[in-house]
Symmetry: C2
Subunit: 401 residues, 2 copies
């Protein structure tokens, strides 16, 4: 394959400030038209232009630096034209910091087949088999969950939608291959994703006005040679950033192994985003393998199940539904500077869950966002310190078991 177009990203930048001695971790600074953030960092997921039960100001209060929204969902409702008319996603939802949108591909393939989401996300709800057909030229044809109408997504359409949404960071169209796909399918799919990457680049560049930076996606499933080939593809193309996507293995070993293939193989001067990963131990592993940003619905999804992220707790969280908290007058974490975390007792929050008050989700969601933001701050501080083993020491503090 050849690709000779050069693309400039004048309003964007990525600078590696410090490299860890004992791992591939790096401290960086990611510049976008809506502000510069330090990395490693976490991108909080506002699926439908809203993080669950938290408005953007509450995200800010919690220390979030950047948020993400899903192209697929916004395509269906309220539609990219409406968002554009409202001045773009930032203005529409009131978040003035950096934003990222994904390509929409993941939802179509995972919701469509009912397997990808199960495998990648664990046991998330699957929205029925809405995917009708995948055609390389036409793209993915699927039914809207809103009104059953036939929709289509391909590289050109994804770029157009993402341009209208107007996030700072956007992602090429790709196919998300399920974990169960064999090597042959995975390879063919990956090559299609690369061709879709080129089409994404062309469509992006044709309308490029300097306000957006495009990420290429590394696919290749659980096959090392494919992952390496895909990494090489992204390096050879004028993307602004690199995203690591697709099936990240059915087990932790697989996932960590896949990550271990990437250092040295991805473009060294571009920000690297690990798609859809957000558990605390996985963030530590990702950081050590050179990942700069992460995203996942973890903070708010865990909140809905009463799991309160907490530094030093077994597995990184406490279950506030446990009856031991029914008369616990201590607060969640007074160091976060939030009413939700520093003022209301565990006893009260336990009660709110027991009686089914939505307020419980709001309080724990903001707390969980703040706790992940704190984790990322502490990871950056550990890297800044330059102390050998600082990252491993920090991991032990967060996850003592």
């Amino acid at each position: 394959m050849e690709f000779n177009t050069k693309i400039d990203y004048p309003n964007f930048g990525f600078e590696v400030l410090h490299k860890d001695a004992g791992s591939f971790a790096r401290l960086g600074r990611l510049q976008t038209p809506h502000g510069t953030i330090e990395t490693p960092n976490f991108i909080f997921v506002g699926t439908k232009a809203a993080v669950r039960n938290l408005h953007p100001h509450q995200l800010r209060e919690a220390g979030a630096d950047i948020m993400l929204s899903n192209t697929y969902h916004l395509y269906i409702q309220p539609g990219p034209d409406l968002v554009q008319k409202m001045g773009g996603l930032h203005k529409f939802c009131g978040w003035d910091g950096p934003m990222l949108t994904d390509s929409g591909g993941f939802q179509i393939f995972s919701l469509g087949t009912g397997t990808g989401a199960d495998e990648i996300k664990g046991k998330g709800r699957v929205g029925g088999k809405s995917l009708i057909k995948i055609d390389e030229e036409l793209g993915a044809i699927f039914k809207s969950y809103k009104d059953g109408s036939i929709c289509r997504l391909n590289p050109e359409i994804s770029m157009e939608i993402q341009r209208k949404l107007g996030a700072d960071l956007i992602v090429q169209m790709d196919e998300c291959t399920p974990h169960s796909a064999d090597r042959d399918y995975t390879e063919k799919s990956m090559h299609m994703s690369h061709r879709w990457g080129d089409r994404s680049l062309n469509a992006f560049n044709a309308a490029h006005d300097g306000t957006q930076g495009l990420y290429g996606v590394v696919q290749g499933g659980v096959y090392r040679e494919l992952r390496e080939e895909s990494a090489d593809y992204t390096v050879s193309r004028p993307f602004f950033g690199t995203a690591v996507g697709g099936c990240l293995g059915g087990t932790k070993v697989h996932f960590y192994e896949i990550l271990s293939w990437l250092p040295g193989r991805l473009h060294p001067d571009r920000p690297i985003h690990l798609l859809g990963i957000g558990k605390i131990e996985d963030i530590f592993e990702g950081v050590k393998q050179g990942m700069d940003t992460f995203d996942c619905v973890t903070p708010t999804r865990e909140a809905r199940h009463g799991r309160v992220l907490m530094k030093g707790a077994p597995k990184g969280y406490i279950n506030i539904l446990n009856s031991r908290y029914k008369d616990d007058q201590s607060v969640l974490d007074e160091t976060l500077g939030l009413y939700t975390s520093g003022y209301y007792s565990k006893s009260y929050i336990h009660h709110l869950f027991k009686v089914g008050e939505m307020l419980a989700f709001q309080i724990v969601s903001q707390h969980n966002v703040a706790t992940l933001a704190k984790l990322m701050r502490e990871i950056r501080a550990a890297l800044k310190s330059g102390q050998p083993g600082a990252l491993d020491q920090l991991k032990k503090e967060w996850l003592p078991e």
Copy 2:
């Protein structure tokens, strides 16, 4: 009936600062151990120690002065002993201002028979026929919706529960007679409520430590002589305040007519609370008939249906679900000093409802609380102004049609 006990309320006070020339409206100051509030005022309902999707700090931000919680629901979950162990309701839920609890009677009777709630509240959901028996001595016997266990509420138990909950203002046990009850039933029920009032006073006084003020309740249904007799009963007893309860008629005419019987008949030096009423036009009518405080789930219930309270809108609200708002970039009300009301566009809030995000309820709930708090401030300002007709003028501004 005779009742010779005198009860002092040393930490409580009610002062009428100004009387309206053209109506029975009055400007007052209600003192409690947790602060002094101006009246007329609105008591925001946190049924289960939480206003729906708003934590107490968010209530404060919205300008709320006082909140209410339901004895019945807290009796069932988490139970008065737990709340007492946690230091009482204020400490448990983190609201440091004045609080009121009701007697628990309304929920038992209305939920129990499946008629009271329908009639009084309009069309609220009815929780099944859980009421087993009403016995004057034993009280109301009912099944817990939590676990089906048999519970009991009578004047002594209600006083004990409310003492453990520890709200500043508490209410005597009464029977809430349905609208459909005939004169004979209503009269017998009212007399029982009066005897329960005396038992409430005795039980209250036996444990009285100066931290709570007890309200008597005026019953009597839609019958003028009964309402007057009930008013006389409350005047003759050493209650701190007067609550107007029971069925307030099936129609507006009835309700307003009932209120018109009360001025001059209730104790002039006590605060008067109108139970369960919260529509804007009804608040204006209640104020004119001398009511000092109101409570209702209106602000948050309306929010869940997308009804955004707004000064000057037809019927006092706009329906944000209406498609006219889908591209409306204006905010709800920038005068309220809230992010929720002054920063997010109607377009965004419309979108949040359309996609079913809980955040929609949070934003509109806080806005609605703030709008009702603003209404009450403006009512007080109108009364303070001393201008003839100021209240009617204000009503026209709020409800132009």
